[in-house]
């Protein structure tokens, strides 16, 4: 006897996993509930890169943590190096030499440029423009060559920006090489600025983030600027020597995927401006505080607590560091911008979009699973 078949479900809802084994998702997954072609709701599934940095740092001295802080984000290790160094500097009350401050800014901005190039690359790939992806990674390599020349590592600088300053001085030919590489970025920016009808169709009016929602969701950095708010930690509370450099904060009002993508291009131009100025003004002198030239593992961190904020390529980064007078920090809290961009913001933006637009929204947020999971 044939059993009676179950009646077909009234609605056609089903679950779809975007990631973690998806070519365009990174080490991260989103569980989508879909009705027909439309996303009904999204649930982020983080944790594939959770290494417990905050706990690891409690076991190590600042000298070791400087190297560890590279790994907080694969795409911009130098910016995380910088923020960790700043936290220790403030706790230990170290006066960083002027030259080191300028070198830190130069490295942080170069890192921002290469991170924004990756953003462009993965966004192009997400919207089906593979040539953009390949060109972006090609142009990024010029900057990686610079990193190799200056820090010794192409991707990971191994704690180049360390408490007290930077590990070593710029090589003699660094200035001419940096200027040459910046010149090479021009065709890259020209390519990004091309009006591409295919890209416009896929990015304009997609994933609109209103300013009110953005503030409630804790959005920072380029994503918030694309929704129309003129904020930047570099201007709000200037760290290092940003108050002596002249640059603008690009903003857009639309708040859609295209606006976010465009902010990335504008910021690259500003970063190039900053690096050129910093190279121009670069003073002579020491690059690391004398007492830290040969640091000791046993040196103690004075009791206290600090909260340091920095503007990294993805938004606002923060480190809260507590010390009880030992040689290792008592507690380190790392606040990564993507912790908010990838969980509440992504869940909010994906609601109601078509399946085909999911990658465009996803990559327009300039995501990095590493600093979300930590």
């Amino acid at each position: 006897m044939i059993e009676e078949m179950e009646p077909a479900p009234k609605n056609s809802e089903y679950d779809l996993y975007f990631g973690p084994a998806h070519p365009g998702s990174g080490n991260f997954g989103v569980k989508l509930k879909i009705d027909g072609e439309k996303v009904v709701s999204a649930r982020a599934d983080p944790g594939y890169l959770h290494r417990g940095f905050e706990k690891l740092m409690e076991y190590r001295t600042p000298l070791q943590n400087a190297v560890l802080s590279d790994r907080l984000c694969v795409l911009e290790p130098l910016n995380w190096n910088l923020i960790h160094a700043e936290a220790v500097d403030e706790l230990m009350d170290i006066q960083v030499p002027e030259r080191a401050k300028y070198i830190r800014v130069i490295m942080a901005e170069l890192s921002r440029i290469q991170s924004h190039i990756i953003w462009y690359g993965v966004f192009s790939k997400g919207t089906g423009f593979d040539t953009g992806f390949k060109m972006a990674f090609g142009y990024r390599d010029y900057i990686l060559d610079l990193f190799e020349l200056i820090t010794g590592g192409r991707v990971y600088p191994a704690g180049y920006i360390c408490p007290g300053g930077v590990r070593r001085d710029l090589p003699d030919n660094a200035k001419t090489k940096i200027l040459k590489v910046l010149e090479k970025m021009k065709p890259m920016i020209k390519l990004e600025e091309l009006e591409n009808p295919a890209l416009n169709a896929r990015a304009k009016n997609i994933g609109i983030l209103k300013l009110k929602d953005a503030i409630r969701l804790g959005v920072t950095g380029p994503i918030l600027r694309a929704s129309g708010m003129k904020i930047d930690v570099r201007k709000e509370e200037p760290y290092e020597v940003y108050d002596q450099l002249d640059f603008e904060i690009p903003t857009r009002k639309e708040g859609d995927a295209y606006a976010r993508y465009y902010i990335g291009i504008e910021e690259m131009k500003q970063s190039i401006k900053i690096v050129k100025q910093a190279l121009e003004k670069l003073p002579k002198g020491e690059v690391i505080e004398t007492s830290l030239k040969k640091p000791k593992l046993s040196s103690k961190i004075p009791e206290g607590e600090v909260y340091v904020r920095n503007e990294i390529a993805r938004g606002e980064a923060g480190i809260y560091m507590v010390s009880n007078g030992n040689n290792t920090p008592y507690r380190v809290k790392v606040r990564g911008p993507d912790f908010l961009h990838m969980i509440p913001v992504l869940e909010h933006l994906l609601k109601g979009v078509q399946i085909a637009d999911v990658p465009a929204v996803y990559w327009s947020l300039n995501i990095c699973p590493a600093d979300m999971d930590r």
Binding site: P46, G47, G52, E237
Partner: protein, 167 residues
């Protein structure tokens, strides 16, 4: 520049009867009783502290207390206020601030619930974020030694090659 900070600190000190301090430009630290936490948070939100930068927990093992820190940023005044409060470490329960800062507070609290085991009253979604099928104690507590845990759970003392981890 520190005028704004001074004025704000004065207001807080008189209104909530605390002793806050100014660390430097843009930075104010305030310690408060846990019962007054939501009250001060609501007041600060109305004052313009719209951005909840982070929530953190510090585990003070000797005092048997958890210290919760709320880092709040005001876009208008350009000040970062850190509100600190202490709760019992063995019964970590505290009022949630999701009604004040919405989703951004919700996700920070969800993370801390997983890593420190703090219960936030009023937060509806405290499911684990990072760890899969985690059965052990809250992993970021100071008395949790992950090296011991790994040895117990994943290595075999009798195994010739894994003996070294016990030396």
């Amino acid at each position: 520049m520190t005028k704004k900070e001074n004025q704000l600190l004065k207001e807080i000190n008189t209104k909530f009867k605390t002793k806050g301090r100014i660390q430097r430009e843009h930075r104010i630290w305030v310690t408060i009783n846990e019962k007054k936490l939501t009250e001060i948070c609501k007041w600060l939100k109305e004052k313009g502290f719209e951005h909840l930068s982070a929530i953190s927990v510090t585990d003070w093992l000797e005092q048997k207390e958890y210290e919760l820190t709320y880092h709040l940023w005001s876009y208008d005044d350009k000040i970062l206020i850190t509100v600190k409060t202490r709760i019992n470490r063995n019964k970590p329960i505290i009022e949630s601030v999701t009604s004040i800062w919405g989703e951004s507070a919700q996700i920070h609290e969800r993370e801390l619930h997983e890593l420190f085991g703090v219960k936030f009253k009023g937060n509806k979604d405290l499911l684990p974020l990072f760890l899969e099928n985690w059965q052990g104690p809250a992993p970021f507590r100071k008395d949790f030694d992950w090296r011991d845990y790994v040895r117990e759970e994943f290595y075999d003392k009798k195994n010739e090659r894994e003996k070294v981890y016990y030396d």
